[in-house]
C-alpha cells in the first residue's frame, strides 16, 4: 500500500536539559505495521505522546491523511482516528470491562448496546472477552484486550502500541499478533514500540530507529538480524552476556510450604510454595504478571514475614525476620516497582543508597547517618553500573527507568549479597543496559551467591537461569533445568491456556 496515512516532519521537543526529539521525520502508510525502536530515553515515548496529543511539539508538523494535524489534547487525536494502548493500563479493578470502556468514551451508548459491540469486536478480532467480568479478576493479557477493544471501538486509522507484549505469555502474544495482522490487512496502521527485536522482525513491515532523539535509520526489520537492529539502536556492538556452566554449592535458601494470604483484594495469595536455591545458582521464576510475583518477593525480602520455619537460610529458620534482619544475613532484594518501592522518588540517589545499604555498608553509627560514606557508596553504584545521572544529588524520579533500574540493581549487587532476589530486573530497560544487568547477576552467581530472578521476560529467564519454575495463581511449579525447555513446555508451565477457552464459552 502506498497511501500515506501520517507524515511526521521535523518534530522537535526539548525538555529542560535534554532534547527528547530532534527534527524527527518519518511516515506511516495505511495498513503498515511500523516499529519504533530505540533505547530507553531515546525519545520514543515523547514522540508517540506528541502524535497522541499528550505533549505539544516545540517545532515541526504532522500531516494526517493530507490534513495538517496538531492535536492539542488526546480527545482531538482520537477524533482524528489515532488510538493508543499504553504500557501501563488505566483500568479500574472494581469495575466491569464494559464499565471501564464506558468511562473512556465521549458519548457512551446504552449498556446493552455497548456490551453487544464489545462482544462483536472481541469476536471479530479473536480477542475473547466477557464485558460483564470485573477487571480485577482478569489476567494482564485480558486487561490488555480491554484496552485494545476500547481503542478498536473508535475505529482507529492508526493504533499506537507501547510495549504491548511485556506482560503476555507466548500464547497470548500469538493471539495479539493475529489481531494486529488482521487490523493491518483491513488498512489500520499500527505504530509498534518494543524492545523485543525478534517480535519486531516477526510483525513489522518497517522500522524507524531513534537514538538520543534523532532518527538514525529506517529499515525493513525482516532484512536485518536482531543483532543488527540492536546495534543500530545502541550505536555500538552489543555486549552479549556470557556464562560458564556453574558448579552449584549447598542449599542456601529454602521455602517450605510457604503460604501468604494476599494483602489486597486483587492481590494473589501464595499457596504452599516450596523452593530451594543453591549457592551459585540462578533460579528463574516465570509467570504472567499478577500471579504472585510481588507477594513472593515480599515474602523473601521480609516485607511480609511468615512463620519462622517456612523460610530457612543456611539451615536456620528466618521466616519471622523483617527486611533489615535479613539484610544483615545477606538476603537482599530488588522489587519490580522502581519508583515508590525500590526507591523513594523524591529522594536523592544518596538518600536512596541509604535505603537498603545502611546495614551491610555500615552507613549508620549510633543512629547517626554517615552521609559521606553514603554518598561514596551511591557514587560507587553510579560509576560501576554506568548510571547516567548528573550526580548523586539527583532525585530518583529524574532518572530514566533504565538508569534507575541500574542503580537499584547495582545498589544490591555491590553489597555482596548471599541471596539476591530480583523482580523484573530489566523491565522497560534498553537492550544494552539489560545485557549489563543480566551480566552482573551472572557474575554475582559465579562468585557463589544464590540469585532468584522473577521475570515475565522468558528470553531473559532462558538466558540467565540454571533452573526454571513458574508461578501460576500463587502456586510455584517444580523447577526444571532451563536448558532444553521448549517454548511450548514453558507456556504450559505458565498455565496461560485454559483461561482463553473458558472466556470463549
Amino acid at each position: 500500500m502506498t497511501d500515506r496515512l501520517l507524515t511526521i516532519d521535523g518534530l522537535t521537543k526539548a525538555y529542560p536539559g535534554v532534547t527528547a526529539n530532534d527534527k524527527v521525520s518519518f511516515g506511516i502508510d495505511a495498513g503498515e505495521v511500523h516499529a519504533l525502536l530505540g533505547e530507553n530515553g531515546a525519545g520514543k515515548s515523547t514522540l508517540v505522546k506528541m502524535i497522541y496529543g499528550l505533549v505539544r511539539p516545540d517545532a515541526g508538523a504532522m500531516t494526517l491523511m493530507g490534513n495538517a494535524f496538531a492535536p492539542p489534547e488526546p480527545r482531538v487525536a482520537r477524533a482524528a482516528g489515532v488510538a493508543m494502548v499504553f504500557q501501563h493500563f488505566s483500568l479500574f479493578e472494581a469495575l466491569t470491562v464494559a464499565e471501564n470502556i464506558t468511562l473512556g468514551m465521549e458519548n457512551p451508548p446504552k449498556h446493552r448496546e455497548l456490551s453487544d459491540r464489545i462482544t462483536k469486536v472481541s469476536h471479530d478480532y479473536g480477542l475473547p472477552l466477557d464485558p460483564e467480568r470485573l477487571v480485577g479478576d482478569l489476567s494482564a493479557g485480558e486487561r490488555q484486550r480491554v484496552e485494545i477493544i476500547r481503542c478498536l471501538l473508535q475505529d482507529p486509522k492508526l493504533l499506537i502500541m507501547d510495549e504491548p507484549t511485556s506482560v503476555l505469555t507466548p500464547q497470548e502474544v500469538e493471539v495479539l499478533f493475529h489481531t494486529l495482522r488482521q487490523l493491518s490487512s483491513e488498512g489500520t496502521a499500527i505504530l509498534y514500540i518494543s524492545h523485543k527485536l525478534e517480535e519486531i522482525r516477526d510483525i513489522c513491515d518497517s522500522a524507524t530507529i531513534l537514538r538520543h532523539g534523532v532518527v538514525v535509520d529506517t529499515c525493513n526489520p525482516r532484512e536485518k538480524s536482531a543483532r543488527e537492529l540492536a546495534e543500530m539502536m545502541v550505536g555500538s556492538a552489543l555486549h552479549q552476556p556470557l556464562r560458564d556452566a556453574p558448579e552449584l554449592g549447598n542449599v542456601v535458601l529454602e521455602l517450605k510450604e510457604l503460604s501468604v494470604p494476599s494483602a489486597t483484594q486483587f492481590g494473589t495469595s501464595l499457596k504452599s510454595v516450596n523452593m530451594t536455591v543453591r549457592a551459585g545458582e540462578i533460579l528463574g521464576i516465570g509467570g504472567v504478571a499478577g500471579n504472585g510475583q510481588d507477594e513472593l518477593l515480599a515474602a523473601l525480602s521480609g516485607e511480609t514475614p511468615s512463620t519462622p520455619d517456612t523460610v530457612t537460610f543456611d539451615g536456620s529458620n528466618i521466616g519471622n525476620l523483617g527486611p533489615n534482619a535479613r539484610r544483615e544475613l545477606g538476603i537482599l532484594a530488588a522489587p519490580e516497582e522502581r519508583l515508590g518501592h525500590a526507591a523513594a522518588p523524591d529522594m536523592s540517589l544518596t538518600e536512596n543508597a541509604l535505603l537498603t545499604g545502611a546495614i551491610r555498608k555500615n552507613l549508620v553509627k549510633k543512629g547517626f547517618v554517615n552521609w559521606g560514606a553514603t554518598r561514596a557508596f551511591a557514587k560507587q553504584v553510579i560509576a560501576d553500573f554506568d548510571v547516567r545521572t548528573p550526580g548523586a544529588r539527583t532525585a530518583a524520579r529524574a532518572l530514566s527507568g533504565g538508569n534507575l533500574q541500574k542503580f537499584v540493581i547495582g545498589r544490591e549487587v555491590l553489597q555482596d549479597p548471599r541471596v539476591l532476589v530480583v523482580n523484573q530486573p530489566t523491565w522497560g530497560v534498553d537492550a544494552s543496559a539489560a545485557a549489563q544487568i543480566r551480566q552482573s547477576l551472572m557474575d554475582l552467581a559465579a562468585k557463589g551467591a544464590a540469585v532468584i530472578v522473577i521475570s515475565q521476560d522468558l528470553d531473559e529467564l532462558m538466558e540467565v537461569s540454571d533452573n526454571f519454575c513458574a508461578l501460576n495463581e500463587g502456586h510455584l511449579t517444580r523447577p526444571h533445568p532451563a536448558k532444553g525447555l521448549s517454548v511450548e513446555e514453558i507456556g504450559l508451565m505458565l498455565g496461560g491456556m485454559e483461561e482463553q477457552e473458558t472466556a470463549h464459552a
Binding site: A70, H341, A343, D346, M347, T356, A358, G367, W371
Partner: protein
C-alpha cells in the same frame, strides 16, 4: 496562556524566594483591601509589620510579645512537623498542650508551697508526660485497631477542654481565690514561676525550649536515621517498609514527639504568660501550630521563621485594630491572604510556569 510544568527536581532558589514573594503579594493585595475599606494602605501595612517591632510608642510593649507568642507555636509545630512529614496526622496538639498544662500545674500545686529548685523541672517533666500520655491514646488506637488518628486526636481535644474546665473550676482551683475559677498563680512563688529571663525580651523557658527543639529537630532530620525514616515513610510508605521501617513504631514515635513538646509548651504557657491555669489560658496555640508547621514547610528553620511571622501578624493585627480602627474581620482576611499566598506560591518551587505559544490547533 499560562501552563505549569513539573520540575524534575524542586528548585532550591524558589523554595527560598517564595515566602518573600508571598509576603510582598500579601502586602499588595492587603493594601488594596485596606484602601477599599477607606484606610491608608501604607499606614496599615506599616502598623502590622513594622510598628510592633520598631515604633517608639509601641515596641516596648509589643516586641517582647513576639517571642511570647512565637515560642509555644514553634515548640508545638516542631513536634507536629515530624508526624506530618511521616504522613501521620496528629491534629490534636491542642489537647496534648492542655493536658500537659494540667499535669504540670498539678505537680506544681502538689508541692505548694515548697520552694526547692527541683519543683519547676519536675513540673516540666510532668507537663511533657501529660502531653505524651494524651498523645498515646490516638497512637495506640491507630496501631492496635487501625482507627483514624485524625478523628481520634481531634476529638480528644474536646475531652481535654472539658477536663480543663473541670480542673480550673474544681480540683485545681485556688482555695484562696474567693471562689473565682482558676488555679493559684504560679508566678507568686519562685519555685513554680516561669519568668522573663531577660528583661523586655519576652524570653522565658518555653522560648528557650522552642529554640532547642528547632536545633534538635534539625539535627534529627538531617543527620539521624530516625529523621531519614520519618521523611521516607511520608514520601513513599512502600519503600519505607522495604527499607525496614516499622510503620507502627513510627506512629508511636511521632505522636510521642508531638505530645511531649505540646505538653511542655502547655506547662510553660500556664506558668509563664498565663500565670495560672484557667479555662482559657491556651490561646488556641495547639491549632495555630498546625498552620505554623505547614507554613514552615515542615522544616525546623522554616517553622522558626513561620512562628515568628505568625506571631508578628497577630500582634500587628491587634495593634492595627487598636490604632487605626481596622475591623477585626479585615485583619483576619489579611492573615488569611498571607497563608493563601504562601501556599499558592509553593507551586513555583515544584513547577515552572511556561507561556503557551499560540498555535493553530
Amino acid at each position: 496562556m499560562l501552563r505549569l510544568e513539573k520540575r524534575p527536581v524542586p528548585s532550591k532558589a524558589w523554595t527560598i524566594a517564595t515566602p518573600i514573594l508571598a509576603v510582598l503579594a500579601t502586602m499588595v493585595a492587603g493594601g488594596i483591601m485596606f484602601a477599599v475599606l477607606g484606610n491608608d494602605p501604607v499606614a496599615a501595612i506599616r502598623t502590622i509589620f513594622w510598628d510592633p517591632l520598631f515604633s517608639e510608642q509601641f515596641a516596648a510593649f509589643s516586641r517582647p510579645q513576639l517571642l511570647v507568642k512565637a515560642g509555644p507555636l514553634i515548640l508545638i509545630a516542631i513536634g507536629l512537623s515530624l508526624g506530618f512529614r511521616a504522613g501521620i496526622w496528629n491534629i490534636g496538639a491542642e489537647g496534648q498542650y492542655i493536658m500537659g498544662a494540667i499535669a504540670g500545674a498539678a505537680v506544681g500545686l502538689a508541692f505548694y508551697p515548697a520552694s526547692g529548685w527541683y519543683v519547676f523541672p519536675l513540673m516540666v517533666i510532668a507537663g511533657a508526660v501529660g502531653g505524651f500520655l494524651w498523645a498515646m491514646i490516638p497512637a495506640i488506637l491507630r496501631t492496635r485497631f487501625n482507627t483514624n488518628e485524625i478523628l481520634v486526636s481531634l476529638l480528644l481535644v474536646y475531652v481535654a477542654e472539658h477536663i480543663l474546665s473541670a480542673m480550673s473550676f474544681g480540683l485545681l482551683r485556688n482555695p484562696e481565690g474567693h471562689g473565682f475559677p482558676g488555679s493559684r498563680s504560679f508566678n507568686e512563688l519562685e519555685a513554680t514561676a516561669n519568668p522573663e529571663l531577660i528583661a523586655n525580651s519576652g524570653m522565658h523557658w518555653g522560648v528557650v525550649a522552642a529554640f532547642i527543639a528547632v536545633i534538635y529537630a534539625y539535627v534529627l532530620l538531617t543527620r539521624h536515621l530516625i529523621g531519614y525514616q520519618i521523611t521516607l515513610a511520608g514520601q513513599s510508605p512502600r519503600a519505607a517498609r522495604f527499607g525496614g521501617v516499622n510503620p507502627n513504631a513510627l506512629v508511636v514515635l511521632c505522636f510521642a514527639f508531638a505530645g511531649v513538646l505540646a505538653g511542655a509548651a502547655g506547662l510553660f504557657e500556664v506558668t509563664g504568660p498565663a500565670k495560672q491555669l484557667t479555662e482559657n489560658f491556651g490561646q488556641g496555640y495547639g491549632y495555630t501550630a498546625i498552620i505554623v508547621a505547614f507554613l514552615g514547610r515542615l522544616h525546623p528553620i522554616g517553622i522558626l521563621l513561620a512562628g515568628l511571622l505568625m506571631a508578628l501578624t497577630y500582634i500587628g493585627g491587634d495593634l492595627a485594630q487598636l490604632m487605626l480602627g481596622l475591623p477585626a474581620p479585615a485583619i483576619q482576611a489579611f492573615q488569611g491572604m498571607l497563608l493563601f499566598f504562601l501556599l499558592a506560591m509553593d507551586v513555583l518551587s515544584n513547577f515552572r510556569i511556561r507561556l503557551k505559544k499560540s498555535e493553530a490547533a
